[in-house]
Point group: C2
Chain length 227, copies 2
């Protein structure tokens, strides 16, 4: 008789806080660590919010994940990176990643919606000063664009490293929000003469366009063909 | 002899401000009204930033455009909508829309990037109180998901209207930022043995999934087949 398979280790959850418990559609919120990681790992562009002169700013930027840490980067001259370097302990930010999975077309205008998966991270972004952590973060940023890519590119040299600032944001105050499924019309609307349903949406990669100066004999690597 | 075609009316531009002139990659910034409208009209989900208890919050939400006004909506009980209703003159926000068009894989890790088009709108979001403007805004929100859809759905009734709050954000302090083209490697890296180029990315719609309760005989409307 075989030993019973041990139960999977509990996935673990983030602890909900006042900021991560939504006032609306609370049933769509999740604090599951694996779900949060999966949503983050499927994208490479986030929307980073911070406060400048008392007003909110939201900018799209690349990110990378290593375990329970997210990293964003930019020129040492860019505004949020300078601000994070000057502030103590860092720059309060909100980092949000969203995937749209479908357009939900209900019979009623009111019940129109989209299927989506999003992650919202609240916290303080701190400048990374440790050189090893900085290098690892830059690798993670490249691998977030295409997994496996950092090993197939020239690493940053000293000049490039000096010109690049990296911010770290710990995954601590985090929530996911997910809408899936079909339309949610009122019972009395079901007989209305309007088409209703879901239009799936997904990200599609096109045929890779090689650089005109690509050396002859360099084939498309497997990790790109796999996209 | 035919009359010469009159020159196209000047597209017009938004006036750059301290907030809309980037510190980095200024050559990618644009204030062209037509470009801004085109980027906005291609999407339906924005990232809305506001300040709550002194910290930034960034949430994905649907939006709609009517001329030089953007609208977002939500339950009258949702946090930003309540805050905008209580604040005078409104809620300072930053609304950002981003489309990712390609993954830019350079030979050097440093020059990895993405091709994208984004619009960032700064301003004050105000609650819409005029009933006609509110109805028009809700139509615009539905038509932003699928053009033509609002005319083929049941309009909001009095109860739904009362439960929905709409915020207006004028397109006034606005910029677009666009990266296009190929890799931008250093000349001395061109002979490195790494594949380099661009992986195009686009949004793809799947086969529409009709609601299980769809009345027999309701065909897929033309505006959906066109997707």
């Amino acid at each position: 008789m075989r030993e019973p398979t041990p139960p999977a280790a509990p996935a673990g959850s983030y602890t909900p806080t006042d900021r991560t418990v939504p006032t609306r559609s609370a049933h769509r919120a999740s604090y599951d660590r694996e779900l949060v990681h999966a949503i983050l790992d499927e994208g490479c562009v986030c929307h980073l919010g911070y406060i400048r002169d008392g007003a909110p700013v939201v900018l799209p930027t690349l990110y990378g994940r290593i375990g329970e840490r997210l990293y964003v980067h930019g020129s040492t001259g860019s505004r949020p990176l300078r601000m994070a370097g000057q502030a103590d302990p860092g720059l309060p930010v909100c980092l949000t990643v969203t995937h749209v999975d479908g357009l939900v077309l209900a019979r009623s205008a009111f019940h129109h919606s989209v299927n989506y998966r999003s992650v919202v991270v609240h916290g303080v972004a701190r400048r990374v000063t440790d050189p090893q952590e900085k290098r690892a973060a830059l690798d993670a940023l490249v691998d977030q664009v295409v997994p496996g890519r950092s090993a197939d590119s020239r690493p940053a040299n000293a000049k490039e490293l000096a010109a690049t600032a990296v911010l770290r944001l710990d995954l601590d105050e985090v929530s996911a929000k997910v809408r899936t499924g079909g339309v949610d019309d009122e019972p009395e609307d079901l007989s209305l003469p309007h088409w209703a349903g879901v239009i799936p949406v997904r990200r599609q990669y096109g045929t890779p366009l090689p650089d005109a100066a690509l050396s002859p004999g360099i084939a498309l690597p497997g990790y790109l063909a796999a996209l």
